[in-house]
Symmetry: C2
Subunit: 198 residues, 2 copies
DNA sequence: AGCCATTATGACTGGACAGTCAGTTTGATC
DNA sequence: GATCAAACTGACTGTCCAGTCATAATGGCT
């Protein structure tokens, strides 16, 4: 009885389609009909899987946000020195977004902003972001305690890393001016290592 | 004959009202009626001053974006050493946004994202952003040429500064966790100075 | 006071779109 | 191949809202 599995599969490809359309057109300019068309099904069918347009959006973003958080966490855990852990964090994120451009578009250009509007929308999403920042803060606190980096406020350092990483992502979307490449990532890492060195 | 001036004044307060509403509710959730109510006039009147909702939005953002760019430019011009110029850039921007919270909300949580969607919308806006980044790049190029900072790609450094500054703004909006204060700004400056030092 | 131009009003229209539901198809099971 | 539930369909409904326009108020001028 792979009924459950088949249903789950359909749900997934529906989310994939939704991501593609939301990334291309944005939330407000996307009709549920558009998602249906992209997924090759009728509008009514969508409502068998999700109760509302907003729920689709949230599910589409959250699925990737969870995977991204898991990836980062794993990469950091399997790295050694603080520089390597930091590098793992940033490179993993850059890499994840390279492999999931639709998610990148939604995440950077709309979703974060929507979370900042009053909307409760995404308690889990906020939690995932904070979790990532907390891991970084812990990394810095530990390294500082061991004297491997100078004494900085670990939270401030974590927020700064988070900002710089997000900046890397944004550059990838606005392709105003120069194309971006691995040297962008390495520059950020270099800046951080120099600024934090004991 | 202060006819022109009076009209301009009305246009301005209309934009002010629009900013307040857009900041509170976002573009999509704001009706032209809402703007009219906030401004204390009827909907039809709005169309005497602007041809469309989108035009209001654009004008509201652009007005502030121009002032911000002018402020930054002036502050950098009147500072001396590269550290001071950099500090002037960042502090001026933080300060401007502190004094124009509605603009901050719109800018950070929606407008940038909308520019990244395909929309032509805001050629001038993009130009203003690039201009700010170009000034930073020029600052770093000059300082590097004088041997005051180490040799870095000036554009990469400028983009990084831009990202970190924007990060400072974002933190002000998402008041998840700690409140933010001047120490956030000073930390960013400290990181940059250490990372760029010759 | 009477006149006209400028400015303002808000009921109205047309289109878009989220969500519904009565009916159709599918495919598993006997 | 008959039966039935689960999956699917798309025309339809009600709501919302940007933009219009016929009408009204304002205020400067003679």
């Amino acid at each position: 009885m792979n009924r459950k599995a088949a249903t789950e599969q359909r749900r997934c490809s529906l989310l994939q389609a939704a991501r593609a359309v939301f990334a291309r057109q944005g939330y407000a300019n996307t009709g549920v009909d558009d998602i249906a068309a992209q997924a090759g099904i009728a509008k009514g069918t969508i409502y068998l899987y999700f109760p509302s347009k907003e729920a689709i959006y949230l599910a589409a973003v959250l699925e990737d946000a969870r995977l991204l958080a898991a990836d980062s966490r794993a990469a950091m855990a399997s790295a050694g020195a603080w520089q390597e852990k930091l590098g793992a964090y940033i490179r993993t994120r850059v890499n994840y977004f390279e492999r999931h451009e639709d998610f990148l578009r939604i995440y950077i250009s709309e979703f974060r902003g929507m979370c900042m509007q009053g909307k409760p929308m995404a308690a889990e999403f906020i939690h995932l972001v904070q979790e990532g920042e907390a891991q970084l803060a812990q990394l810095f606190a530990a390294a500082a305690a061991r004297g491997e980096i100078r004494a900085v406020d670990p939270e401030l350092a974590a927020l700064t890393v988070s900002d710089m990483t997000r900046g890397l992502m944004e550059r990838r979307l606005r392709n105003w001016g120069r194309p971006i490449g691995p040297e962008d990532t390495e520059f950020v890492l270099d800046v951080l290592c120099r600024a934090l060195a004991a």
